[in-house]
């Protein structure tokens, strides 16, 4: 029920790449092959545990349709983390990443942690974007990268949690002002943050970040 921090996430990316499915898999642990088009934004929330701390993730799952673009931009503000999703079977969704990234950078805090996600890794036979390409793009733009499958749940958990770990690390490094809500972080009820700084924990979590290969 209680949490140490609340992080606001946004999920962005082209329509049909599986944003809502990723969220559903993460919050409800199920997969829905046919999903209604998202209008504006939908929400999900889940508690995760990072270094023994309960963290509530409040996830804003935005509409991917181009026509909603100007509206969804309004929702970016105050996000601590973003999942930027493309579909590994549709190259155009990968090609649009730059424009999504520009949008994200422009409309949210500069400290926002961005996780690049190549979704639908279960459809290996239809793959159109190589894993290395995703990795290269992430490296170039300073993003974390993972390939996931909302269908098989592969790496879904990890994608959300690793993002949270990175945010948590930034908090401990003092990069995030947790008292400024524009950063998308809120301190949970009855928390005393002054005592929460622990460099050893942050080092450990940053090392964890790399181990994302897993099943995909």
């Amino acid at each position: 029920m209680t949490y140490a921090y609340l992080f606001k996430y946004i999920i962005i990316g082209d329509t049909g790449v599986g944003k809502s499915c990723l969220l559903l898999q993460f919050t409800d642990k199920r997969f829905q092959p046919v999903h209604d088009l998202t209008i504006g934004v939908e929400f999900g929330a889940r508690m995760v545990n990072i270094d023994g701390k309960q963290i509530k993730l409040q996830i804003w799952d935005t509409a991917g349709q181009e026509s909603f673009r100007s509206i969804t931009r309004s929702y970016y503000r105050g996000a601590a983390g973003a999942l930027l999703v493309y579909d590994i079977t549709r190259r155009e969704t990968f090609n649009h990443l730059t424009s999504w990234l520009e949008d994200a950078r422009q409309h949210s805090s500069s400290n926002m942690v961005i996780m690049l996600i190549g979704n639908k890794s279960d459809l290996e036979s239809r793959r159109d974007v190589k894993r290395e390409e995703g990795e290269a793009f992430a490296r170039e733009h300073g993003l974390i990268f993972m390939e996931t499958s909302a269908k098989t749940a592969c790496n879904v958990e990890e994608a959300f949690i690793n993002t949270a770990k990175e945010i948590y690390r930034k908090i401990q490094q003092g990069l995030f002002d947790v008292h400024n809500e524009a950063n998308g972080i809120k301190i949970g009820p009855q928390q005393c943050i002054s005592t929460s700084v622990g460099p050893s924990a942050s080092q450990r979590s940053s090392r964890d970040m790399g181990s994302d290969s897993g099943c995909c």
């Binding site: 029920m1 209680t2 209008i39 504006g40 934004v41 509409a63 026509s67 509206i71 309004s74 009855q190």
Partner: protein, 501 residues
């Protein structure tokens, strides 16, 4: 002291007089409740106006808040046997709450400023500030039991007076049940003051509600305080289940509200910059049109008395679907109607059994029967009521948010912004009425299930349902207002054929 007494009586009599008015519009199922409430409320004002607490009581109370302490004593003597524990908040909370709710019902009908009357009620009855409550409760309860132990003779002197006052308060609390909250639920933000007194989360947020803070901020704050309070002071699972704020957030009401606020704010900025870029005649025409739009948002219908009483069950779904379709947005209010129908179904099954059995059981040992028959305890009903209100409100706000998104999204418009505003305004009325009617039904469930319960157990639950219903209505109305800038920008863009920014 004596003029305080005057004001106090005023509040109570006002409350009771509207109660009688409200009783004039019969609510089908609850004739028996009505009658009992009526007979009580008829006798009470006389009792309470007959005597005044003229003399300072002789007891050794040094605080200036003499009255509430004594009233609690009186109430304690009257309704509570020695071994009933007076638990801190519950006991005091109930007392203060039921008075406040009746006072606010009065306000809405009589048309006075609510803060005015609350202030009156506070000064006259000396309702303690929330922070004082806990210490006073201990004091008061200590006093009560001490007095009861040493003095077994019938109540005399000032205590007699106080007991009548407290009965009056209790009966007004009860008759709110029959009268309903038609009025209270429409008072909007001013309800904050009332809620602040009764709700542990809100009470500390009181005063936060100013121009600079947004609604969702206030709500979030209240929710966080509530969470804190929950962890600090409440350990029982059941208590968590009845926290409106937590439930509202669980149903994503808070998130939708925040998102709606974002869209609203962005639209507002756009409208301003467009207005700044215009001049002369063009500006005047636009201003005029925007003014018309604003009028559609003023909710004039709320002031009028509702003509029809509650209609059939199916009607809400039909009505809301119809109104919603006038918006011409590609979405349907299914989630809302589903949630509402679940609530109605629950009420129906909950009421069906006890009512039937009550009829035949009347000649027999009624109390025993009802005890057996009731599957749902009053706590269950209360929890479900609060949950339903939170869910319906969250769904309503989601609906407004989606509408805002779709209005901003839509390029071709078959309807004008004014037409949409009117439909939205009507939707707000329908939603608020439905919440009112639901809260009435929930409290009927409560009174039916709780016939055997003492007033100080039942009343706070009833009051809580009404307060949250009025709370809900306020959120819905505030959310509705957030749509104004959205429709303004839609009007402008449709008019000037501006390409989407």
């Amino acid at each position: 002291m004596s003029d305080k007494g005057d004001i106090e009586t005023e509040v109570i009599t006002e409350a009771t007089s509207i109660l009688e008015d409200e009783n004039c519009e019969p609510t089908k199922n609850f004739e028996s409740v009505d009658q009992s409430a009526k007979s009580e409320s008829k006798s009470e004002p006389v009792a309470s106006t007959r005597k005044r607490p003229e003399s300072k009581p002789s007891s050794d109370l040094e605080t200036s808040d003499v009255l509430p302490v004594q009233t609690s004593q009186a109430a304690g003597k009257e309704t509570v046997s020695k071994d009933v524990p007076h638990t801190g908040w519950g006991y005091w909370g109930s007392w203060g709450k039921s008075l406040l709710s009746s006072a606010s019902a009065t306000v809405a009908t009589v048309g006075q400023g609510i803060s005015n009357v609350i202030e009156k009620a506070e000064t006259s009855l000396g309702i303690p500030s929330p922070s004082e409550i806990s210490s006073e409760v201990q004091y008061a309860t200590g006093e009560t039991s001490a007095k009861e132990n040493e003095n077994s003779s019938p109540m005399s002197g000032p205590f007699g007076v106080f007991s009548t006052i407290s009965t009056a308060v209790q009966s007004t609390g009860k008759s709110v049940i029959s009268g309903g909250l038609d009025a209270l639920e429409f008072i909007g933000k001013k309800t904050m003051d009332v809620i602040a007194e009764g709700d542990p989360g809100f009470k500390r947020t009181k005063g936060l509600m100013n121009r600079t803070s947004t609604l969702s901020q206030v709500l979030r704050e209240a929710k966080e305080k509530e969470e804190q309070w929950t962890t600090n002071e409440v350990t029982m699972e059941t208590d968590k289940k009845t926290h409106y704020g937590l439930l509202f957030d669980e149903f994503q009401g808070l998130s939708h509200l925040e998102a709606l606020e974002m869209l609203s704010r962005e639209s507002e900025i756009k409208v301003k910059s467009i207005l700044n870029s215009l001049s002369g005649e063009e500006l005047e025409t636009l201003k005029c049109e925007l003014e018309q739009l604003k009028e559609a948002f003023s909710l004039a219908e709320f002031c009028e008395e509702e003509e029809e009483e509650k209609k059939g069950d199916e009607d809400f779904t039909k009505e809301i679907t119809e109104v919603f379709s006038q918006l011409h947005v590609s979405s349907k209010p299914e989630k809302l109607t589903r949630a509402r129908n679940t609530a109605c179904e629950w009420i129906r099954t909950s009421l069906a059994k006890p009512l039937e059995e009550k009829e035949e059981g009347k000649k027999q040992l009624e109390a025993e029967k009802i005890e057996q028959i009731n599957n749902n305890s009053i706590e269950d009903i209360h929890a479900f009521a609060i949950r339903s209100l939170a869910e319906l409100t969250a769904c309503s706000i989601e609906l407004f948010h989606k509408t805002a998104a779709l209005v901003l999204h839509g390029r071709k418009q078959e309807v004008t912004a004014i037409e949409r505003s009117r439909a939205l305004s009507q939707m707000t009325v329908v939603l608020c009425k439905e919440l009112s009617s639901l809260s009435k039904e929930f409290t009927t469930c409560l009174t039916t299930a709780g016939v055997k319960e003492k007033a100080d157990v039942l009343n706070p639950l009833i009051t809580a349902v009404f307060l949250e219903a009025s709370n809900s209505a306020s959120y819905i109305q505030d959310a509705f207002q957030l749509l104004l800038p959205v429709l303004e920008i839609s009007l402008i863009e449709n008019k000037t054929e501006l390409p989407e920014a």
